[in-house]
Amino acid sequence: MNLKRLTTDALLTAFALIIFIIEAQIPPVVPIPGIKLGLSNIITLTSFYIIGKKDALIILVLRIVLGSVFSGNISSLIFSLCGGILCYIAMCIFHGITKEKIWVTSVLCAIAHNTGQIIAAVFVMKSTAVLWYFPYLLISAIITGAFTGIIVQNICKKGRGLK
């Protein structure tokens, strides 16, 4: 890993972390756990498209681990990690299919992320009661995913120089 790549990754991780922590301060609009904008996914997706797959994974995992340390919510680490990894897998699968329609990838990622969180919750709580939330989470994933996806699409159009 050369110096430029290291610096870019570190910088993007810092960006993602700042966005994550600021977002955590916004009071939840809908009182259902797991529903939020997921703005830090903008950084993950952008780095995936502009810099590379490996870098995106590094940034994603670092952001999740550091994010839960800084926001003081260690208990949510397992949920974020499970969601994040599934989101990354979805990114790898779908980016070849959707091509330049990044917003579609983003929506599919958001759906994968929330599915991962629900699966983690089912295992942690050892109860299927959390499945009640799944339809709500699916709706929110589509809306927030499209929103962040459109942002990423615009960044990628203008930010090719980042590489």
């Binding site: 939840p28 009182p31 259902i32 756990p33 003081g72 919510n73 208990s75 949510s76 949920f79 299919i97 091509k99 329609k101 579609v104 929506v107 919750a121 942690v124 709580m125 050892k126 109860s127 009661a129 959390v130 009640w132 939330y133 339809p135 709500y136 699916l138 709706i139 589509i142 809306i143 499209a146």
Partner: protein, 119 residues
């Protein structure tokens, strides 16, 4: 799948939203008993028939305080940082309130008879 236009993707996602909304609506319309089950750490602590509650009272489950009223149940307070369970308010017919940090679940079970009839 590669040739799908933006329009087609929007239609796909909108139909998922419609299906989910319908599912939520159906959950809320389904008739059922109102037996609230409170569990902590996977152990059932209380089973309350909400329709037979005369006066409201509170139950303390770990760091959470559960408010039981006639026909409704809600989380009154919690010692977790996000307090999402408290903000969720009352539930009556179906659904559940989950406090992830404290592993407390309030769930409204449907009557077994009605369950059997549906099958």
């Amino acid at each position: 799948m590669q040739n799908l236009t933006n329009k087609k993707w929007i239609i796909i996602f909108l139909s998922i939203i419609v299906v989910c909304s319908t599912a939520i609506a159906v959950f809320h319309i389904l008739p059922g008993g109102r037996v609230a089950v409170i569990t902590k750490d996977e152990k059932i602590l209380y089973k309350i028939d909400l329709s037979s509650v005369k006066e409201s009272y509170t139950l303390t489950v770990g760091g959470n305080v559960v408010l039981v009223e006639n026909g409704y149940i809600s989380m009154q307070s919690a010692d977790c940082p996000d307090k999402l369970c408290v903000k969720q308010g009352k539930i009556s017919e179906v659904g559940s309130i989950v406090c992830l940090p404290n592993k407390v679940i309030i769930r409204i079970d449907r009557n077994e008879e009605i369950d059997a009839a549906l099958r």
